[in-house]
């Protein structure tokens, strides 16, 4: 596709509900990242994939957060038993390999836990 696509754009979940957020990266991009952005803050790193391998999950805030990219393309971020503090915008980004390449971001999924 032309850019990184995320779905849904908006999600309202009741506290305790499980949610799944989808990211379609740019075709051919090896690297995929998930970030969490709280209101008025900069994005915070959650996890990183190189192809299907999850190489860094140091930013995941708890074991309720789980991410996968089984075929090295589409990725899903799952949050179990959502809590109010999980309310944020979840951004996905993809890039070619290497720190000198720019990452391209999707529009994000705004999660509101009520």
């Amino acid at each position: 596709g032309a850019g990184v696509s995320q779905s849904p754009r908006y999600k309202v979940a009741k506290r305790g509900q499980d949610v799944a957020l989808r990211c379609d990266p740019i075709s051919g991009h090896v690297s995929l990242f998930w970030y969490q952005q709280a209101l008025g803050q900069g994005p915070e790193f959650l996890t990183y994939f190189q192809n299907e391998a999850q190489l860094d999950k140091s930013g995941l805030p708890s074991d309720r957060f789980f991410a996968e990219r089984p075929e090295g393309s589409v990725s899903t971020l799952k949050i179990q038993r959502t809590q109010q503090e999980d309310s944020a915008v979840y951004l996905c980004a993809s890039s070619r390999q290497g720190p000198n390449t720019e990452a391209f971001f999707g529009q994000g999924t705004r999660l509101t836990v009520v």
Binding site: G42, F45, P99, Q107
Partner: protein, 113 residues
């Protein structure tokens, strides 16, 4: 640990005037520095990057940034601001190992007619 700091929460300029949005960095090794812009309810859009070479980097929409190693700064600039430049700007450093971006807190740019 790598980090960036954006010392100003908000910058106000009049349309047609030059603008500067400040960023300082702290990295070990070579810095890979980026600027992104975020419009309301939108994702982040890449503006420009510094990898190596010329200290003045030119990017999208007429923006440029000046890399200053001695001052560990990477300020974003534009010679003549437009009202449509009003948005949230993020400076970021990219980790050489994982490639993850470490963002500053962001600076809101307000350009008034």
């Amino acid at each position: 640990a790598q980090s960036v700091a954006q010392p100003e929460d908000q910058v106000n300029v009049a349309e047609g005037n030059p603008l500067t949005v400040k960023c300082t960095y702290s990295v070990s090794g070579n810095p890979y520095l980026f600027w992104y812009v975020q419009y309301p309810n939108r994702g982040l859009q890449f503006l420009l990057k510094y990898i190596t070479g010329d200290n003045l980097v030119k990017g999208s929409y007429g923006f440029e940034a000046e890399f200053n190693k001695s001052q560990t700064s990477f300020h974003l600039k534009k010679p003549s601001a437009l009202v449509s430049d009003s948005a949230l700007y993020f400076c970021a450093v990219r980790d050489a190992g994982t490639g993850k971006l470490i963002f500053g807190q962001g600076t809101t740019l307000q350009v008034k007619p």
